[in-house]
Each structure stands twice: as C-alpha cells, then as structure tokens.
C-alpha cells in the first residue's frame, strides 16, 4: 500500500492519457469552481479566511526575513535587550521577562505553528485515510477492532489525549515539533478514519466498483483507483477545520507547559503562559500579541473550513434555488397564511411549501440574484 498516493495522482478519467494537460486544467477549474461561485456569507467567510490564512502562511514562510531578531535572541550585537520594555523603538511589540523580542517571537511562532500543523495534518491524513479505506473495504474483524479503538479515541477528551500522547512521544527524534505534531496526529486520526470508512462502505457497493471487481481488478487497484477518488472528496473540509484545531491544540499544550521548549522554537501558547504574571502588572503587550496571533490563525482556517462546508455541502447548496424575492411590504404572516395560498397555487402550480420554509424577512436574499425567474414573479402578484 506504500505506493497508494502515486497511483492516485494518475488521472482516473478515460480521457486522462489522451490529453492530460487539458484534463488537468479542467479538473483544477472544477475543483475551484465552488469557491469562485460562493455567495453571501459563505463567500465572505471563504475570502476572509483565505486572506487571513494567506497572511499567516506568508509570515510563517518568510519568518527569517520578517522577524527582526532570532526567536531565542536576548541580545543584539553584544547588547542585551531590555527586560519587559513597552512597545516602541527597537522593539515594536516590546520585550518579555526573558528579554525576548515579542515581535520576533510572534513571527517565528507562526512558522512553528505552520510546521506542526502541516506535519500533524499530513500524518493524520495519511494514517486516517489509509486505515479508513482498509477498514471500510475489507470489513471483518480488522474493521471491528479498528472501529472500536477509533471510537474510543474519539470519545476521549482531545486535549487530555494530546497531553498523554505528548508524554508518550517525548523521546521521539526530531525534537519538540515532531513530538507536538505526533501528539496532535493521534487526536485527529479517528476523524479521518470515521469519514473515510463511512464513504468507503457506500462506495464499495457502487456498481462501478462491482464491475471492476467482476473484471478481476485487485483490491489495491479498486481502492486506489475507484474508491479513493470518491472518498477523498469529503476530506478537504475536515482538513481545514483540523488545521485550525491543530493550532489550538499546539497552543493549549504550550500553555499548559507540555509543548515546545522556548529554546527549540517560538511557540505562542508558551509565550502566553509566561505572560500571565505580566498582566497583573499592567504589561499588556507580552500577552496581547501572541494571543491575537493564535486567535487570528485559528479563525482563518476555521472560516475557510466553514465556508468550504457551506459551498460543498449539498444540503446547504439547495438554499440558492429556494431563494425567493419578497417585496418589502409583505409581512411574515401574509406569505404563509392560508388565504394567500390558494392565490399562489393555481397561478403558478409550484409547490408553495418551498416559500413557507423561507424566512420572508430577508430582503438581502435578492442580492444573490440566482433565484429562478418563476419564483421572482410570483410573490409580486401575491403582495397586492
């Protein structure tokens, strides 16, 4: 199963080999189409989230060039930094009780968070998806044991699990970042496992999989070529939401003192914990900047995840068709009273139930502009 991913990169469509370039671009467009077509709140969340996340990633990637000093620098050119200096001058965000430069710590902290997040997501994605596919496809006792273990892990308080796992992996080579990433991985494997297993179960029974099996395809081929590409669609939303959770968990571990040590890398949760005594002495800067950084980073990923969820989730997408433009005069009761219904039914012959579920107090709904023409005409008559 080790070469599973390479197999998946190969185009699955029949035209894949004929025109790989065009097929690839088409798929790319198809993948991003929902994002471009998003509207309303989903659009707002997606683009705000993408902007925040992009900012976070840029800071993280270019940290060495953005940060004025190193993450563990307490002196510059032989001159020791002042202790707990307020923002301004050489230290834009001030300095901490350990003589660290707060701005540098915050910028380097973005890099740490990104590293841990990427590692954790890749680990848990790989293990969770693989186990979910195997478990769902083959079933049997393997499935039963895995489900039991995963359900148990899932029921466990996630932070406790991460703490215990951080303890367990504390001697892993690679230092604090790998340890933290592994601890977070343990927490998120069950989520991928559950989702992937559930969709594998349904994909397994699909006609095309049955056909492939009848043609004598090996399980590896079936899983890699047919099941995986159908199952993987449910993953992006979980991945972005998990990325947000990973940052929160890392900060939580750091805050409790079980995360990355300050000499290894800058970590926001640790900085925040060290800043608690400063708050009592009216030194707001040591806590505020890492705190804001944590919230912004998590918020960015969460907004992308929520936006994607709205866009990709079919039950939410139906809303667009249901959108009906109601003239401002219409009061809630007028639309739904029995008196109004006979007028609507013979006039249009459409199901009036659709309108009833809509909340009439939404003039903003017309902004989306994709209400069906038949629906837009109808309530105007009704308003008289």
């Amino acid at each position: 199963m080790a070469n599973l991913p390479t197999e998946l990169v190969a185009p699955t469509g029949p035209a894949g080999t004929a025109a790989p370039k065009r097929a690839g671009r088409g798929r790319l467009r198809r993948t991003f189409a929902p994002i471009l077509e998003a509207h309303g709140l989903a659009r707002f969340m997606l683009w705000t989230g993408i902007a925040i996340t992009g900012f976070f990633v840029v800071i993280a990637v270019f940290a060495p060039w953005i940060a004025p000093y190193g993450y563990d620098a307490y002196e510059s050119g032989g001159e020791r930094f002042p202790k707990q200096e307020s923002p301004g001058g050489d230290h834009l965000f001030g300095t901490t009780v350990q003589n660290f430069d707060v701005l540098s710590r915050v910028v380097w902290g973005a890099r740490t968070a990104l590293e841990v997040m990427v590692l954790a997501v890749v680990f848990s994605l790989f293990i969770g998806v693989l186990l979910g596919l195997l478990s769902g496809y083959f079933g049997g006792w393997l499935d039963r044991i895995l489900v039991l273990v995963m359900d148990t892990l899932f029921a466990f308080p996630y932070l406790l699990l991460a703490i215990v796992a951080a303890f367990m992996f504390s001697d892993v080579p690679g230092g604090g970042i790998v340890t933290a990433a592994l601890a977070i991985t343990v927490v998120y494997i069950p989520q991928y496992f559950r989702v992937v297993r559930a969709s594998t179960l349904s994909a397994r029974e699909a006609t095309y999989v049955e056909a492939a099996r009848a043609m004598g395809a090996k399980p590896r081929t079936i899983i890699g070529r047919y099941v995986f590409s159908n199952v993987i669609q449910s993953v992006p939303v979980i991945t972005t939401l998990n990325a947000a959770d990973a940052i929160a968990t890392l900060a939580g571990l750091g805050f409790l003192g079980f995360g990355i040590q300050p000499t290894e890398a800058a970590e926001w949760g640790y900085d925040l914990q060290r800043a608690i005594p400063d708050l009592g002495a009216d030194m707001w800067w040591t806590a505020t900047f890492p705190g804001v950084a944590i919230v912004l980073a998590i918020l960015g990923f969460t907004l992308v995840g929520e936006g994607l969820n709205d866009v990709l989730n079919p039950s939410m997408r139906k809303r667009r068709i249901r959108t009906v433009v109601i003239p401002p005069i219409a009061k809630p009761r007028q639309v739904v009273t029995v008196a109004a219904m006979p007028a609507a039914v013979p006039a249009q012959g459409e199901a009036p139930a659709v309108e009833q579920t809509e909340d009439p107090a939404t003039p903003g709904a017309s902004e989306t502009g994709d209400a069906p023409a038949s629906a837009t005409g109808e309530p105007q008559e009704e308003g008289k």
């Binding site: 466990f156 308080p157 406790l160 001697d171 969460t302 739904v336």
Partner: protein, 343 residues
C-alpha cells in the same frame, strides 16, 4: 410496536453491553500509552535527582514495575474494577482520595459552563433558525465560529483583564476568597452544595461570584455547537409536514413556531450535551489552569509536571470512565424521551 416497554429495556441493556468493550479498550489504551511509553516512571518522578540503583530497584519493586507487563496490566484492570486508581508517587495520596477532594470543583465548573452555554445557545439558536438568513442569523453564526476559534485560555485571560483587573466586577481567580470556606464540612465534596447544606449563604454567593468568569469562558467554547445544532434543527422541524398541517389549519404563526417548532427542535440538544462532555472536560483543564480553579484538571497538570506517572494514569483512567458512563447515560435518557431513538 406492541412491546414498547420491552424494547426500552432491551435498548438499555444493549447500550450498557456496548459500553463494556469500550471501557476495556479505553483502559487498554491508557495502559499502553502510559506504561509502555518510553521512560521509567520511577526515575522520572525523582525529578532528575540522582538515586542509587538499589533505591530505584526498591521503589520499582514497591510500585510493582519490576514484574512482566502483562501481569501489571492484569493488576491494573483488577484495580480499576475495584475503583482503586493507585497511589501517587509524588504526594503519597490515594488517587481516589484526590478525585474525591478535587472532583467537586471540576463538577461545579463544568456544570456552570454547560448552563451558561445552554442559556445563551438555545435562545440564540432558536432566533437564528426562526429568522434564517437575517442579519441576526449571520451574526449568530459568526459568533459561534469566533467563540469556537478563540482558545479557552485566550478568552479567559481577556476576561480576567477586562472584568477582574480593569473593572473589578469579578474576582481574578480561585473558587472562593481565601480562608472563607475552611469551616465548611465536606459532605458531598462539592463546595457549593456543602455550603447550602450548612446554610452558609455567604460562601454560596462567594463561590457563584467566583464561578461566573470561568464558567462563561468554558461555556463560550461549546456555545457555538448549541447555536448551530438548535438552528439547523429548527429549520428542519419547520419544514415538517405537521408544521405545514398546523399552518393549514390556520394556527397562528407564533404558535406554530413555538409549540410545533421549538419543542421538537430541542430534543436533540440532549444528545449534543452528551457529545460535549469530552470537550467540557478537556476545556476545563485549560480553564482551571487559567483561573487557578482547584479542580481535577489543575491537579492533573501538577501530577504531569512532577512526572507522577501513577497518579496521571489513575486520573486519566477516571476521566475516561466518566466520559464513557456519561455518554451512556445520555443515550439512555434520550431513549426515554424520544421513542424513535430506540429503533
């Protein structure tokens, strides 16, 4: 259909039977993670102090760590069945005594957080679902996302800064003012109940006053889940045939929404409470640390810091058991309320 009571009994029996393998797997996982993990508990708990090899061996033998793992595992399971969670290496206390002593504060905090989340989440969710796509709905949705995104300790520190340090409305930390509750006899080990028991209302108010900030902080963590759940449920309920039928019969819109919509939309909230127990317990570790609340979470962190593996294992085992038992109870309550669950 004719044997309704029989099917409820069967459901409960099935649910309890399901919990047993789950507890077994949970205990095994805890054991594997904490005992098979690299690092020797005894030398770790000494905090880096040099001990002679004989001393280490002696302590290992006393704690039973020199025996084969499988024997230790059997002993561990047998102990847990007897509710014996071991003896702390660092403080020499029975872990079950620690649980009794500190558990009350955690129960108080978690209950406070849950009550706060319900009081805020249900009305906001109902309004958001009723006035779907309105400005309020959008606001409620973003509120839920932001409160979920902001970590407990950031919200907690912010609340402390604003309401305790700047405005002085609430105390900064702790469960009571110092010394005030020393005379309260421990009957239930939940301070607020003990204070009510002996009619000491000053202490009751003092605890409540201390509780508000941490409970609100913890409650904000899960309030988004309630808002979303209630909102979606109400929207789905209002699409139901019986709601349409009620409207067709000319019942006032307000009565339709309140009597037919709200009531049915609130049933699944009980399930969500069950699912949030793990989140509440995890969040309470962070909240207790932030607000210096003398509960199990704070105790667990202290045990972890002193590398007291035995006590950590005991506490984690206990918390795991609590989660399984509560989720089982919630499922059973759910089956009692909503007959559809049983099938």
């Amino acid at each position: 259909m004719s044997m309704k009571s029989g099917s409820l009994g069967r459901y409960i029996a099935m649910r309890v039977a399901l919990a047993i393998p789950m507890i077994f797997v949970l205990l095994t996982l805890v054991f594997v993670m904490l005992r098979v993990a690299p690092g020797d508990p005894i030398s770790a708990s000494s905090g880096g102090a040099k001990m002679s090899q004989e001393k280490i061996d002696e302590l290992r033998a006393a704690a039973g760590y020199d025996r084969p793992l499988i024997v230790q595992y059997g002993d561990y399971l047998a102990d847990v069945v007897r509710f014996d969670f071991g003896t702390s290496v660092s403080t020499n206390q029975q872990v079950s005594d620690v649980i009794l002593e500190k558990g009350g504060a955690t129960v108080t905090l978690a209950t406070g957080g849950l009550v706060f989340a319900l009081l805020l989440g249900i009305p906001v969710g109902l309004l958001a679902g009723r006035f779907r796509d309105s400005a309020f709905d959008v606001f409620a949705r973003l509120f839920g996302i932001i409160t979920y995104a902001a970590p407990v300790f950031v919200v907690g520190l912010l609340a402390q800064q604003l309401f305790a340090t700047k405005l002085g409305w609430f105390p900064l930390e702790g469960e009571t003012d110092p010394l005030i509750a020393n005379d309260i006899p421990a009957t239930t080990h939940i301070l607020i109940l003990d204070a009510i028991w002996v009619n000491d209302w000053e202490v009751v108010w003092n605890v409540l006053w201390h509780l508000i900030l941490p409970a609100a902080t913890l409650g904000l963590l899960i309030v988004g889940v309630f808002i979303r759940m209630v909102r979606v449920n109400l929207i789905q309920t209002l699409r139901g045939d019986y709601v349409e039928a009620a409207r067709a019969r000319g019942i006032r819109e307000r009565d339709v929404v309140v009597k037919h919509g709200f009531r049915n939309a609130l049933v699944p909230v009980i399930t969500v409470i069950g699912l949030q127990v793990a989140l509440l317990l995890g969040g309470s570790v962070l909240t207790e640390k932030t607000f210096n609340w003398p509960g199990l979470g704070k105790q667990l962190i202290e045990f972890l810091n002193s590398r007291d593996y035995v006590a950590v294992q005991g506490l984690v085992t206990f918390i795991a058991l609590v989660v399984v038992v509560i989720s089982m109870l919630i499922d059973i309550i759910n089956a009692l309320i909503d007959p559809r669950v049983r099938y």
